[in-house]
């Protein structure tokens, strides 16, 4: 990955960014990069891009990087980030927006059938159904 990126008004106003705004209804430009979301995120160490950088990349229009990132899939929607944000940016909704962009292109991110059968029987339904968010809808 190159660290040298061109930004332009065209890129920042991309289709994907618009789609993300439509789905999440969030104005990411309120973010002033205090990092409180990442600081509080319980799963940040499992993420390849910490939440505050996700928001920054959205601001700059680097959506394609985010679509390839694992971060939205690591997010368990505990909403700690949103509660912590001093500027009212609903980061959890941005994560959902990114998941939706991928799902609406590829339909599924994980295959339920790959889950071990034994585990599937033992796990609580709400864990399984919660996990469906990585497949449809």
């Amino acid at each position: 990955m190159t660290n040298n990126r061109a930004i332009s008004s065209r890129k920042i106003e991309s289709e994907a960014l618009k789609q993300l705004e439509d789905i999440s209804g969030v104005n990411v430009y309120a973010c002033y990069q205090c990092g409180n979301c990442s600081s509080a995120c319980p799963a940040v160490e499992f993420m390849d891009i910490p939440p505050h950088q996700v928001i920054r990349k959205v601001q700059l229009g680097f959506i394609d990087e985010l679509i390839e990132s694992e971060t939205p899939w690591i997010c368990a929607a505990c909403i700690t980030c949103t509660v912590k944000c001093p500027r009212g940016v609903d980061i959890a909704k941005v994560m959902e927006g990114l998941r939706q962009i991928v799902l609406r292109r590829d339909f599924e991110h994980i295959n339920i059938r790959e889950i071990d059968k034994k585990l599937r029987e033992k796990l609580p339904q709400i864990a399984l159904i919660g996990n469906f968010r990585k497949t449809i809808l």
């Binding site: 990069q33 205090c34 990092g35 409180n36 990442s38 600081s39 910490p50 009212g88």
Partner: protein, 649 residues
């Protein structure tokens, strides 16, 4: 009927290009009441003005209309002109045929008839204009300063030094305010008390200043130049006339309570002065905590007092004064740590606010200036400072920047390092705002010489773990989450307008903003005036600011007061709304719409009385009056009605 002269200005081609001046002049000549019409290329030029003067005399005009540019530009010019030939300035009116006619229409056929209508309607106004004299108001040359912190001290001294009397009211028993609590001040690190106490003494000794501590403003009436104020002197239980401040009572008092001045880190007695250098250095008895008031027994202070100054039966006293101007310098409070749930809600003893840390750093503070943490008195080796706590957080707390925290936190880290050489200070910040003289250099020094580690990001959580305080934050520059097992945490809490400002603003009939700070008349051009005439603002009551800014603003407020006092009398716009006693039925509708309380019901005569000085001439009452008793001078119903008709001919 009056003889009105109409003077039509070409304004070069600005008006003449789109308005057919000749046609206008011709048409106006026949208009009823118009005795003379003249056009000229530049009416505002010297020859133009001279011509007007001559014609007023030669044509025996008793009112003129100048058809030219907007009245905001030259109304005053022309009114001064006519005054030199003994015409009442209020009989000179402007018809705006430039900004609102020639410049907004292109077609001569459109602009010319409109110009005629505009001029005619103003002629109608001029025909009924009365001769008015500005209302003259005497000025009481004595100022009231509310608040005895550095802002109030500076304002009071400055006004007093220009020769005017000042009453300085402070609700604590000593002046000094927040600045007296500080250790050393940025960016020069001079000791706060060392630079402040001489000024406090100056206040006490100044022959023009009447110092009223332990007092509060109770009531106010009147208006600029003539306020009547009622001040409550709270019960001290000590007769300060007798007391010499020897301190025997304090020494003998058996009851100890947490000291507010020391941010509750140290103790004071139930009879106390807030700090040793207090001005006046005389004690008060704290009714809440005094053993005698609680149990009926004790009276040790009374017994030991060599001057019989203790008086348990004392009550509040009230003082009434007349003042011409008021400076509000009520200062700030620190937003309490208990509002910060993520930082322990005030339950963690070693998580304190910046002001408390000032007391720890102060050589006259509870630790004698040694950095020791509150829980066990240990010297903290790892100390974390967090900025923007409650500030810049519109979602949970306050949207504004508290302005002083960047600098004082940097100072804290520096002073800590000067006292604990092997210690490590960390500062979590979001931005460093060091925009003052010598501030950026100060910040650089902290980084380069004092090894303060600046971490760019917020702290999401602080919790106690054994005897450590764990700080979970982030450094967004490296993208790493940071965990510090610290010995102590200092929070740069948001600063708030001090308690009671809202009620005070109501009392003073001036406004506060959405954050509770007093609103200035204009954010840039009138930054020390309040929205009420004669009331000025200084210090953090208006917005967060540091000592240099506070002193500057206080000096500016004092200079505004001096300006006011330099006037022989105040002139007040005379286009006020009076009352026709014969028509007024005393229904009081006008009273309810008046924003200035200028109208009051005279129950005896069953009519409304008008205080001409309070009236600001909006005319809302005139429109509300059902009987036509309220008529705004030179904007009477008859005048407006004639103007309307003139437009619609």
């Amino acid at each position: 009927m009056k003889r009105i002269g109409v003077f039509v200005c070409h304004c070069g081609i600005n008006i003449a290009e789109t308005v057919d001046i000749e046609a206008v002049v011709k048409d106006l000549k026949d208009y009823p009441g118009v005795a003379y019409v003249q056009d000229y290329k530049y009416m505002c030029s010297d020859p133009g003005q001279n011509m007007i003067k001559e014609k007023i005399k030669s044509e025996k005009l008793d009112g003129i209309v100048i058809a030219a540019c907007s009245p905001t530009l030259h109304e005053n010019t022309f009114r001064m002109t006519v005054k030199t030939v003994d015409m009442n300035p209020y009989n000179c009116e402007i018809a705006n045929i430039r900004e609102q006619c020639s410049w907004v229409h292109k077609d001569k056929n459109e602009a010319t008839p409109k110009a005629k209508l505009i001029i005619k309607s103003v002629v109608e106004k001029a025909l009924l204009d009365e001769e008015l004299e500005p209302v003259k108001v005497p000025v009481v040359r004595k100022a009231l300063v509310l608040g005895g912190g550095i802002a109030g001290i500076q304002a009071a001294l400055s006004i007093a030094n220009s020769g005017h009397e000042v009453i300085l009211v402070e609700r604590q028993s000593s002046i000094g305010g927040r600045m007296a609590q500080l250790s050393e001040t940025f960016p020069t690190l001079d000791c706060s008390q060392c630079i402040l106490t001489p000024k406090m003494v100056d206040v006490a000794q100044h022959e023009k200043i009447r110092l009223m501590t332990y007092s509060e403003l109770e009531d106010i009436s009147g208006f600029v130049g003539n306020f009547k104020v009622r001040i409550r002197q709270k019960t001290k239980y000590i007769d300060w006339d007798k007391c010499t401040g020897c301190g025997l009572c304090i020494e003998k008092c058996p009851k100890k309570v947490p000291s507010e001045f020391d941010q509750e880190l140290g103790k004071r007695k139930a009879v106390y002065t807030p700090f040793p250098q207090a001005v006046p250095n005389k004690p008060v008895i704290d009714h809440e905590n005094c053993t005698y008031f609680k149990t009926g027994k004790c009276k040790l202070c009374k017994m030991v007092c060599p001057f019989d100054a203790v008086d348990f039966d004392e009550t509040d006293k009230f003082v009434e004064e007349e003042v011409g101007a008021i400076v509000v310098a009520t200062g700030y409070d620190v937003y309490p740590v208990l509002n910060m749930d993520e930082y322990g809600s005030g339950k963690l003893p070693d998580v304190i606010d910046g002001l408390t840390f000032e007391r720890i750093l102060s050589s006259s503070g509870p630790t004698g200036g040694e950095v020791r943490r509150p829980s066990d008195g240990k010297v903290p080796k790892e100390i974390v400072f967090i900025k923007c706590v409650g500030s810049r957080d519109p979602e949970n707390h306050f949207p504004y920047c508290s302005k002083i925290c960047c600098m004082y936190t940097t100072k804290h880290a520096m002073l800590y390092k000067h006292r604990v050489h092997d210690g490590q200070p960390y500062i979590f910040y979001m931005d460093v705002r060091a925009g003052g003289k010598g501030y950026e250099e100060f910040y650089q020094r902290a980084q380069e010489e004092d090894n303060v580690i600046f971490l760019r990001g917020k702290v999401s959580k602080v919790y106690q773990d054994d005897d450590k305080v764990v700080v979970c934050g982030i450094d967004t520059l490296s993208g790493s989450n940071i965990e510090i097992r610290a010995d102590m945490v200092v929070l740069a809490m948001a600063i708030r307008p001090s308690k009671g400002v809202e009620e005070l603003a109501q009392l003073l009939k001036t406004a506060i903003d959405q954050n509770g700070f007093l609103t200035e008349a204009h954010p840039k051009l009138r930054p020390v005036e309040s929205l009420s005439a004669g009331i000025y603002l200084a210090g953090c009551a208006q917005a967060p600011k540091d000592i240099p800014d506070t002193v500057a603003q206080a000096s500016a407020a004092a200079s505004m007061v001096s300006n006011l006092f330099a006037q022989e009398y105040l002139l007040h716009e005379p286009i006020i709304t009076g009352v026709d006693e014969d028509l007024c039925s005393g229904c009081g509708l006008c009273i309810t719409v008046c924003p200035y309380d200028a109208r009051t019901l005279n129950r005896e005569k069953s009519i409304v009385d008008v205080n001409e000085i309070l009236c600001e001439a909006c005319g809302a009452c005139a429109a509300a009056c059902p009987s036509g008793a309220a008529q705004q001078r030179n904007f009477t119903d008859k005048q407006l009605s004639n103007m309307i008709k003139a437009i619609l001919i």
